[in-house]
């Protein structure tokens, strides 16, 4: 067989390419597939959380805050476990950020709560003396864009197979279902129900009233997003 190969250089070249390509596939594909899979416990964003993510992007929070904890003791002490690539599976686009003017927010949901975010967004220096973060007062007034958020959910569910309305495995072995509305009206209602859970922990009466009247201020959406970062 080998003598035959030596006599047929073109066939030999083809066999070499096939062999190396196959070896590459065997080595690379399983590793890549494993790395690109969502980490157990990572869930897709709900409609309100996704709207909060849009607020985050719109206000360029990622210009000052990263969402990537590097594997160093000094980082994991501050921000929690180091980040894994599979944790960004549902982030489109990911918001790693390029510079930390403020702290990392990858797991901020673990150590800050709704009422703290409310105080902090209204006047950062009131809770963090010397903070150079600006106040985001307009978030208490502007309405979050739930419809766009729902459109994004529909798109990623259809084209990227993001598992909405499907059981997602959690760390404790259970499964969790992140629901997505079947119609835009249902999605709005679900977002409002989620917003009411957030405003129950908030103090600002205007925001509470707005949600009671069926409006969702941006602050509620971004707090929902912050609380989902774990």
């Amino acid at each position: 067989m080998f003598h035959w190969l030596e006599k047929n250089p073109f066939a030999f070249a083809v066999v070499v390419i096939v062999t190396i390509a196959f070896a590459g596939l065997v080595e690379i594909v399983p590793h890549f597939a494993q790395q690109a899979r969502p980490v157990i416990g990572t869930t897709p964003y709900s409609t309100l959380e996704l709207a909060g993510r849009h607020v985050y992007i719109k206000n360029s929070c990622n210009a000052c805050h990263s969402q990537l904890v590097r594997p160093f003791k000094s980082e994991t002490d501050r921000y929690g476990d180091y980040s894994l690539s599979g944790e960004y599976a549902y982030d489109r686009p990911f918001l790693w950020g390029s510079k930390r003017t403020g702290p990392d927010l990858m797991r901020v949901g673990n150590y800050r709560t709704t009422d703290w975010h409310e105080n902090h967004m209204k006047d950062p220096a009131s809770v963090v003396p010397g903070s150079i973060m600006p106040a985001y007062g307009w978030m208490f007034v502007n309405e979050a864009d739930i419809d766009t958020s729902y459109a994004e959910q529909l798109t990623v569910a259809k084209f990227f197979g993001v598992p909405y309305n499907k059981p997602v495995p959690m760390k404790d072995g259970s499964t969790k279902i992140i629901k997505m509305g079947a119609t835009v009206e249902e999605a709005r209602a679900m977002a409002l129900a989620e917003a009411k859970l957030i405003t129950a922990d908030m103090k600002n009466q205007d925001v509470k009233d707005a949600v009671e009247n069926g409006k969702i201020p941006e602050i509620v959406a971004i707090i929902a997003y912050m609380n989902s970062l774990k």
Partner: protein, 305 residues
Amino acid sequence: MNKLYIWAVVFAALMIVLTYLSVGTTEGGLNDDVVNQLAVAGAVALVVISVFVVVKYVRQMQVDTADGDLAEESWDGIGEYLNEVPKGWAILYILTMIWGMWYFTMGYPVNAYSQIGEYNEDVAAHDAKFAAEYKGITGNRLVEMGESVFLAECKVCHGISADGIDGKAANLNQRIEAVAVKHAIMNGANNFTTDFPGGMPPGLNYMFASEAELDELVNYVVAGMPADDTRGAELFAQGTCNGCHGDTGEGMPYAGPKINGYDIATVSSVLKDGKKGAIGTMPKFERLNAKQIEAVSAYITSLSK
């Protein structure tokens, strides 16, 4: 003698002479410096060996005749002998394969660098150093350590002076605030599910005849349950508070936390489970280790003394 050998000797001698002329006579050259002497000796050896190896093979090409069986195929008339594999080459080949197997199964996996591996080593080393350095820490040093933990982790909500920043979080300079006592009595509380799984039932305000009586009890608890306040103690019993928190508010295991002051167990209950009450929501702090919890508890206890 073949002409080739003569040329080889001449070439080698020429190289040696040129080497000597270039380095041997300069200042600090061969006479004084042992490193230079070794270098020149090496150069001479290289020249001699190279020349004679080249001569050997060139000579072999000139005089050797081919023998042995030819392989079947030929390439444009160029054939190939079916010779034995050279022994030294074969041994090296097998040794290389053995090394390769070791390297892929043991050498690389065991010795390879990994960022996460370095991180794990770093954390383990730090933890060991921390445990050794703060093993027997007590008293003021523990409180100081607690203060630094507080300033890193807690001040963001409770403020630098632990006063809760105008009601944004609990004021830790006292055990409990009136608004929190009242909220717990009226709405119940089930915050510390790890240490006190039963929780506190809502609606205990119905144990009191009037709003004024309730306020009296609240003030008694906020004041830290002074021993000389018999009226307060009476109301405390009337409200069945003593059933879980004890007659003096010292708390009971699994039933109710200490409410007449702070201690390590109380603070660690809060850090373990977080808290949701009248003032707001506090997250749990799993990231603190046992010694840090002890230290921050000691610091918070020291604030209200």
